[in-house]
Each structure stands twice: as structure tokens, then as C-alpha cells.
């Protein structure tokens, strides 16, 4: 088996593992590090359930090799809250009831945070456009859009 050594910072902690070269970042996070908050919805780069940040940029971790993230800093949904205190974007999702089954939620929140970092005051249209790569099969999106608007506002403070 062709294995490769991968070192990266995940949610502030450095990790090094020897993994098969074909290990996807999402399975590195879930299966090797036990960080199961990052979900696999489609495994075909469409749905955004697997979204994480690599060096601050939102990406689909089902379409990145763990090896490609070698040397990078990765943030997952588990890295947002400070102890018991939810991240403002998480709190906004709770406040607006922006989820039903919750499967898409980690990816939605990672996308919301990325948008707020790019644009501190996104309009509803900008939010909807930015959600192009995130699918939710439950909510109908309205409350997700409201939550991201509120979350972005709270992040400005």
C-alpha cells in the first residue's frame, strides 16, 4: 500500500499520521481523528456537508486528499465553539431554527462563517448565491439564510 506521512494543524492542535495516499481529508478527519461533525452527504463534490476551512478558505473535504492539506491549518465544525460557548454562527442557527435533521448543518455553518469573513454585511441575495454549493433537503433554506444574516452581524461585534 502506498502510504504517506501527513502533518497538519486541526482546530489548533498539530497532528501527524501515516495514512494511505488516497485518504480523503474528510476520512482523515472522521476516521483517523474521530472528528465526525464533518459529514459525507454525496461524496461527489456537490452537497457541501463535508465543508471545512483550509487556511481560512472553505473547501469540500471529500474532494481534497489529506496529503494535499499537509502543512495546512484546518478548521472543522468542532473548532468553532469556545468550550460551552457556541460560535455566533452556531448560536444564530439555533436561534432561527435553521435545521431539521441537522445533516447539512456543519457544512452550512462553515460556509456561513467563510462568507461572513469575506463580507461582513452580506445581503440576502449574496447569502443565497454563496450557498450554491450547500444542499439542505429539509428546511427550504429560508431559516438558514436568516441565520447566516444574524450570525454575520453577530460576528461583526
Amino acid at each position: 500500500m502506498s502510504s504517506t506521512s501527513v502533518s497538519m494543524t486541526v482546530n489548533g492542535k498539530s497532528v501527524t499520521k501515516e495514512v494511505p495516499a488516497r485518504t480523503l481529508l474528510v476520512s482523515f478527519l472522521r476516521d483517523h481523528l474521530g472528528l465526525t461533525g464533518t459529514h459525507v452527504g454525496c461524496d461527489t463534490s456537490q452537497c457541501g456537508a463535508c465543508n471545512v476551512h483550509i487556511d481560512g478558505k472553505c473547501v469540500k473535504s471529500c474532494t481534497v486528499l489529506a496529503a494535499q492539506a499537509d502543512g495546512a491549518s484546518v478548521t472543522t465544525i468542532e473548532g468553532l465553539a469556545k468550550g460551552d460557548q457556541l460560535h455566533p454562527m452556531q448560536a444564530a442557527f439555533k436561534e432561527h431554527h435553521a435545521l431539521q435533521c441537522g445533516f447539512c448543518t456543519p457544512g452550512m455553518i462553515m460556509t456561513g462563517v467563510a462568507l461572513a469573513n469575506e463580507k461582513s454585511n452580506p445581503s440576502e441575495t449574496e447569502i443565497r448565491e454563496y450557498l450554491e454549493g450547500n444542499f439542505c433537503r429539509c428546511t427550504g433554506y429560508h431559516n438558514i439564510v436568516k441565520a447566516i444574516e444574524t450570525g454575520a452581524k453577530a460576528m461583526r461585534r
Binding site: A21, C58, T63, V64, Q68, Y130
Partner: protein, 263 residues
């Protein structure tokens, strides 16, 4: 995905050397075409040679009336470049319309061109603006780079290092996107350049092409009001998203929108 060995060279020369020493090597850029294809086992390279650590493939420069974009530059970097926005705003519009934010954060111009998906956006920019594809071996003019369905003039192991876009007098891009994937059902780049009007069409056929009849019509008046000749459906693609007749019609509509966008 089948097993492979992974390499991350730091220079173009090392990447080319690694490629030639392996039996079934493949370059990896953003991985947003190659990895999905490997998951479906449409591709099963023995070795992946990741180009992302090569500094020479990165960056955007404006010099001598040209915009020069390194092959490893992501779609998001092009979309957000203030320099490109001033020189060739249509390129930013095109890059901003590719896929979704996550795809744009990973996918690169070099990967997109080497892949030459018939429904991809960048081929329309390269052909429509009369760009030059620079490789580790030579320079290839847009008119001889694209060879049809997923085929290019690139030789085995040849690496795209940059793309040079001459700055046009004006240019506009318009696309009718497939609503789920955002790939082009039809995309048109229309440009008024120093060497004349160029109109390149992607998505409509098995590969990007120039709409020469429309170019002729726009040569006398590069305006959205110009009357454009009808496009023939023969040779265009038909699939579950759009028939050839519909695509032919869309070419005219998108060409007008592209000219209008050029201002």
C-alpha cells in the same frame, strides 16, 4: 479510488522529472476534476504529482498589455483580483461564475484548461481573448490549443505554467448555466481585440469553437443591437439538459448578452 503514490515537488523541473520516471503518472492541481474522476475509477494513475507547492505556477501579473495568470491560480483568486477587474473585467465575471465558492477555492485555471471539459468556462476566455498558453516547453496559441472533447495540444507530461491574455478593447462573457452544476449549457466570450472581433462558444458542442459568422456580423458594429446570423444546430450537443436546436438558439442569445456586458 484506486491506490497511488503521492508526490509534491517544489519546481516545474522536478515535477516533469517525476512524471517521466513513473508508468502512469498524472499531475494534480486543485483536484476538482481529477479526484471525482478517480473516485469513479474513470482514472487510475499510479502516481499523483501535486503541483500546488510550485511557487512559479502562482500569481497574477499585468505587464506589456497582457494579463499573465499562473497555472496554479484558483478561480477565486482570479474572480477577486482587483488588477484583473481593471484590465479584463469579463475574466473576473467568468471565474466568479464557476461552480460554487468551495470549487472556486480549489480549482485552477491550468487544471481547467488541461482538462478541457466541453462544458467548462475557461476555454471560452482563452479562445475568445486570443490568449497564449505557456508550458514548460513552448507557447501555444489559443487557436491551436483546443482539440475537441477533453483533448488539447499538450503532450504527455507537458505542464501548463501560465496563460497570457492580451488586454482587449472590450470583452464580455455570458453563460447559460446548467442549474445544478453551474457548468455551461452555453457560454460565450465576445471580445473586440486589436486583431479584430473574436467570439468563442463553450458548452454548445464537443469542444470550444469560434462563431465566425457572428464575428463577421459584429466586426462592422460591435453592439448588442447588431443583427446576428442564426447558428446551425448540426454538430452541436444534445443531452437531457438541452437539445442541439435549443443550444444553437442560446448561442445567439448569449452572444448578444456578452456584447451587452462588454459595454
Amino acid at each position: 479510488m484506486r491506490e497511488f503514490s503521492y508526490h509534491r515537488p517544489k519546481s516545474v523541473a522536478d515535477a516533469a522529472k517525476a512524471f517521466s520516471s513513473k508508468s502512469e503518472a498524472r499531475y494534480l492541481a486543485g483536484g476538482h476534476s481529477l479526484l471525482p474522476a478517480m473516485k469513479q475509477r474513470l482514472n487510475a494513475p499510479s502516481d499523483l504529482i501535486d503541483l500546488s507547492a510550485i511557487k512559479d505556477l502562482k500569481g497574477i501579473k499585468i505587464a506589456g498589455g497582457e494579463v499573465v495568470i499562473g497555472a496554479g491560480t484558483t478561480h477565486a483568486e482570479v474572480a477577486h483580483s482587483t488588477e484583473i477587474k481593471k484590465a479584463i473585467p469579463a475574466l473576473c465575471v467568468l471565474a466568479e461564475g464557476i461552480g460554487d465558492p468551495q470549487v472556486r477555492n480549489r480549482g485552477t485555471i491550468g487544471g481547467s484548461l488541461a482538462n478541457n471539459d466541453p462544458a467548462s468556462d475557461y476555454p471560452a476566455a482563452v479562445l475568445g481573448l486570443g490568449a497564449t498558453v505557456v508550458t514548460n516547453k513552448r507557447e501555444i496559441a489559443a487557436d491551436s490549443f483546443f482539440k475537441g472533447l477533453f483533448e488539447t495540444a499538450l503532450e504527455d507530461g507537458e505542464i501548463i505554467t501560465a496563460v497570457r491574455f492580451p488586454i482587449p478593447e472590450k470583452a464580455g462573457y455570458a453563460k447559460f448555466a446548467q442549474p445544478a452544476s453551474r457548468f455551461c449549457i452555453v457560454g460565450v466570450m465576445a471580445a473586440k481585440t486589436k486583431s479584430g472581433v473574436r467570439v468563442a462558444v463553450t458548452g454548445a458542442g464537443p469542444g470550444v469553437f469560434r462563431a465566425t459568422d457572428i464575428e463577421k456580423a459584429l466586426a462592422s458594429s460591435f453592439s448588442a443591437g447588431a443583427s446576428l446570423p442564426a447558428v446551425k444546430a448540426s454538430g452541436l450537443s444534445s443531452d437531457i439538459h438541452a437539445g442541439a436546436e435549443y443550444r444553437a438558439h442560446l448561442v445567439g442569445v448569449m452572444a448578444k448578452r456578452a456584447v451587452a456586458a462588454a459595454g
